[in-house]
Amino acid sequence: MAFVKLVVFGFLALSVVYLCISLYSRSVRREKLEDEWDETRPNVTTDDARETFIAEGMELYENGMRRKLILLVFVVPPIVVMTIIFFVN
């Protein structure tokens, strides 16, 4: 029963962590794209072009490897637990 509790609540906790990290990562990427635009093209003032540039960059991010790496949040803790079980027992 305790094992089921660990799996269920562990999964819930890791889901919260995953959500937080993916929101954070996306936000950081968007900020970087904004800064890049503002630095390289300070004279282009149309909002449309800036929006398109950012949207394109975000699409690259959504399909990229980095976003999938966040899924490791669900992989690493079980491995750590299994390692502890192996060494303690």
């Binding site: 029963m1 305790a2 094992f3 509790k5 660990l6 937080c20 990290i21 929101l23 954070y24 936000s27 950081v28 968007r30 900020e31 637990v81 502890i84 079980i85 303690v88 027992n89």
Partner: protein
Amino acid sequence: MRNIKRGFWLAVFIIFGAWLNYLMPQQDIVRIVHTENKLQYVAGLQSLFYADVETGPNQDSTGRDLRLIATVRKASYLFGLIDAGTETMVYRNEDTGWIYPPYFKFDSADLHAEAAAASSTTEPYNWMVLTHYGWRIPFITVYPNAVAIRPAPNEDYRPFPWLNLIILSLLLAGALFVRAMWRQFRERTLARFRS
């Protein structure tokens, strides 16, 4: 207001530090003099420190068979920097199960056999490194929980706490990451609502 804030963070720091001190593995140099079982009733404040009833084989009872390892250990002050001769120490040997504390220990019977096999009451003494967590609190009959034993190379051997160093570094990294996340959230999301 400022002092209240400071006091709050100081209290958080002290409580978290004490909790870590209770939870982190520590290694003692011991020689085992005796291993025994006794019937122990766990109630009230004690249940903070003992394993959950669900973990053990005594689910329908308030009493439990508690394995104890009586030892003589090398005492020290200031995290092992100052030697203080020897003193007696009694450890309990209890499964932790799946939840808390996260040691995932299920082999207390084997550990008890190892401890019995290593017991040493006559010279030359058989010094062992005993890994444990927890506190000895005599007033409410609480013992630190032994997790593992291994032979010590010699009597003056003092293991370096590598594992604790790694765990504390990871905790610090985690705390800094959470702070970075919070700052990003405040700067990008909350600021939008404020303006």
